[in-house]
């Protein structure tokens, strides 16, 4: 009970800090940054939301999903369908005409309703993740097998989206949007509004996951990551928890996709396939899995480096990305956050403290390399 009261105190304090940071970002940055830089930052922030989603599944629960691009893409396509219908003004979306469709396919019709589309942004990825999760986790498919199957999911999704051109726009995806809920996308005010919404969603996601992972339920997630069979012997049902976490994670990724598409103005199968899905994992690995600010930092740093480096050295970037991945796994297994934390610890000379705190976590050989749960 004592601990609980202090947790609520910390929760209020942390919420206030996050709210203040969000407010600062919304008010100050649009004044300081150019329109181009702000749009870029807004895009990175949507990526940061996906990174948080992956971190919940991977960093906390130990499920390395190589298919989160699919959930991101589903959310993006759900909103894109609505925007496409908005742009078509009671006609057919342009790409359908090019592919020879005469009338709107039945499953497109409800997306004319903006609320329905918004609901689908969450529902579609969540349903897919729940279905796949039940299939996988009930069968006790674990670890690497889970990763390989989710990678197959990414391949399947791109194959289907590319193949069903009349319904999905094929390789070119969906683009040429004009408005979102009546607001013209080209207006600066709309873009700033979208940026603000993204900041708020990111802040809320962070806080929600912060409290989830800090709660008793969060302890179960970490327990699944570190020793699933032990948890099963305690009478928990890890499969159920994993399905729930995977579904939640997919829904968050879907929201990120929906924020991405009106800002960038296009969604294609190339945004949701194997390569982008793995890149999303890179952000988390580079930033630091198992912490919540790590993935946010990782998404912004990696994508910032990407747009900076690929502008000036287009041939160089791939080497850099590859090296960053190898380096973050081999040299900085806890990512930027872990490396900084280790540096700070060293500076303080708190060697004895780290020994007692870290010993229990690092003595488990089966768990690979469990991270110290700070919360």
């Amino acid at each position: 009970m004592e601990q609980r009261r202090s947790l609520t105190g910390a929760a209020v304090r942390e919420s206030a800090v996050v709210a203040a940071i969000c407010l600062l970002m919304i008010v100050v940055l649009p004044l300081v940054l150019s329109e181009f830089r702000l749009a870029l930052l807004a895009k990175f922030l949507t990526f940061a939301i996906v990174a948080l989603a992956i971190d919940l599944a991977w960093g906390y629960t130990g499920m390395l999903s190589l298919g989160h691009g699919v959930f991101f893409g589903l959310g993006a396509y759900a909103l894109a369908m609505h925007m496409k219908l908005e742009a078509a003004k009671d006609g057919l979306p342009d790409f359908m005409g090019w592919s020879g469709l005469r009338e709107l396919p039945g499953f497109w019709a409800p997306f004319d309703n903006g609320l329905f589309a918004l609901a689908m942004v969450v529902v579609l990825p969540a349903l897919l993740a729940a279905g796949l999760g039940i299939l996988i986790f009930r069968g006790r498919v674990q670890g690497v097998y889970f990763s390989i199957i989710t990678q197959a999911l990414a391949l399947i999704a791109t194959l289907v989206f590319v193949g069903q051109q009349p319904y999905t726009g094929g390789t070119n995806g969906m683009t040429n949007f004009s408005t979102l809920f009546g607001l013209p996308l080209i207006e600066t005010s709309t873009q700033i509004g979208l940026y603000a919404v993204t900041v708020i969603v990111l802040g809320l996601t962070y806080l929600a996951l912060r409290f989830l992972t800090g709660s008793r339920a969060g302890a179960i997630l970490v327990a699944i990551r570190d020793s699933e069979s032990r948890l099963r012997f305690f009478g928990y049902d890890p499969a159920l928890v994993k399905v729930a976490v995977f579904t939640l994670s997919a829904a968050i990724a879907g929201i990120a996709g929906a924020l991405f598409v009106p800002q960038v103005g296009i969604i294609t199968p190339a945004n949701m396939g194997i390569v982008p899905s793995i890149e999303m994992v890179i952000w988390v690995a580079v930033g630091g899995r198992g912490t919540l600010y790590g993935p946010i930092l990782g998404a912004i740093v990696v994508n910032g480096a990407k747009s900076g480096l690929s502008e000036s050295f287009p041939d160089f970037w791939q080497y850099f990305l590859g090296a960053m991945f190898v380096g973050s796994v081999v040299l900085f297994p806890d990512g930027i956050v872990g490396a900084v934390a280790r540096g700070v610890k060293k500076l303080k000379g708190a060697r004895s403290a780290s020994l007692t705190a870290g010993a229990t976590a690092h003595d488990l050989p089966s768990a690979g390399r469990p991270l110290e749960a700070k919360s």
């Binding site: 009930r138 199957i149 194959l159 991945f325 380096g327």
Partner: protein, 313 residues
């Protein structure tokens, strides 16, 4: 994705049975390439628990071997008998095997027991190798001129002719599998490899140098990927991203077959190759492939250990 190397060529006339037989034959040849790719993965995954995402890039490097040799002799016109292609097969094996051993030594050996980390790190290596290929050979696809004696096909009936290229691929794969079988059962190095595969700790206490076995196993797997890359040059143009098209399929073969089960891997490769082309017949290539992958996921729900399950005690 219809122009992928390895996807079946457009079917022509003929009666339905002939079309199906040809399709099945093409499926077998694609499945046999998949088998070469998957065997390498099965070795490293089954023996060492390493998920090598750079395996696709070994295929790509193997595919560039005949291209480089052909360029070195001054184009296909200076090579009327297609000798460069034949010479490229062992060369590709050696080069990719050396690269595999190098990668094991430089990177993989620090990550044993952490399969997810090997997955991530090798993906990074794969990215760099792809970029390297792009820097050296350019981003566009290139074409290897196949030996002239592989043009045409074996006329079975009037409507059905089996392309020599695909027959050659299947023979090559059969030869490789036979060589692997002989290596595993007849040579002492192969016996050591099997010993480590069955029980690493006991093998180690009996004096088997497991570290050395790991490196050579990894090299062998990479070399097989290189040979598979050579075979792929017969089916279409090649490019820096060639390997990425095959890596997911190959992993599905390994998982479907059952990890560490070479017989299962063979069965799974044939099955997936046949299923891919069969579904292509009555739907499109992309949907057919998607159906196969979904089918595999459902199968794994039913039998998580794959076709041939290792009995655990």
């Amino acid at each position: 994705m219809e122009g992928l190397p390895g996807s079946t060529p457009r079917r022509t006339g003929g009666n339905v049975l002939d079309v199906y037989l040809l399709q099945a034959f093409n499926g077998l040849s694609v499945g046999s390439i998949l088998l070469l790719v998957a065997l390498g993965l099965a070795f490293s995954f089954g023996l060492m628990g390493v998920i090598n995402m750079a395996h696709g890039e070994f295929i790509m490097i193997g595919a560039y071997a005949p291209y480089v040799l052909q360029q070195a002799v001054g184009g296909a016109n200076n090579d009327p008998y297609g000798l460069t292609f034949l010479a490229a097969i062992p060369l590709a094996f050696l080069v990719t095997a050396m690269m595999g051993i190098g990668m094991e030594w430089a990177l993989i050996r620090f990550m044993y027991g952490r399969p997810l980390d090997t997955l991530l790190a090798t993906w990074g290596v794969g990215l760099m190798l792809q970029q390297l290929a792009r820097s050296v050979f350019g981003a566009p696809n290139v074409q290897v001129v196949s030996p002239s004696w592989l043009n045409g096909g074996l006329e079975v009936t009037q409507g059905l002719s089996l392309p020599y290229k695909r027959l050659f691929i299947m023979l090559l794969v059969v030869a490789c599998v036979a060589a692997i079988w002989a290596y595993l059962t007849r040579s002492s190095a192969g016996r050591r490899m099997r010993a480590v595969m069955q029980n690493r700790d006991i093998a180690s206490t009996l004096g088997v140098p497991t570290r050395q076995v790991d490196a050579s196993t990894f090299g062998l797997g990479a070399g097989l990927a290189g040979v598979a890359g050579c075979a792929l040059t017969l089916l279409g143009p090649i490019g820096p991203a060639l390997g990425t098209y095959y890596i997911v399929d190959a992993f599905m073969v390994v998982v479907l077959g059952g990890v560490g089960q070479l017989l299962g891997t063979i069965a799974a490769a044939v099955l997936i190759g046949l299923a891919n082309t069969s579904f292509e017949l009555w739907s499109s290539a992309t949907v057919g492939k998607a159906i196969v992958l979904v089918g595999i996921i459902f199968f794994l729900r039913w039998k998580p250990a794959g076709l041939v399950a290792l009995r655990s005690r």
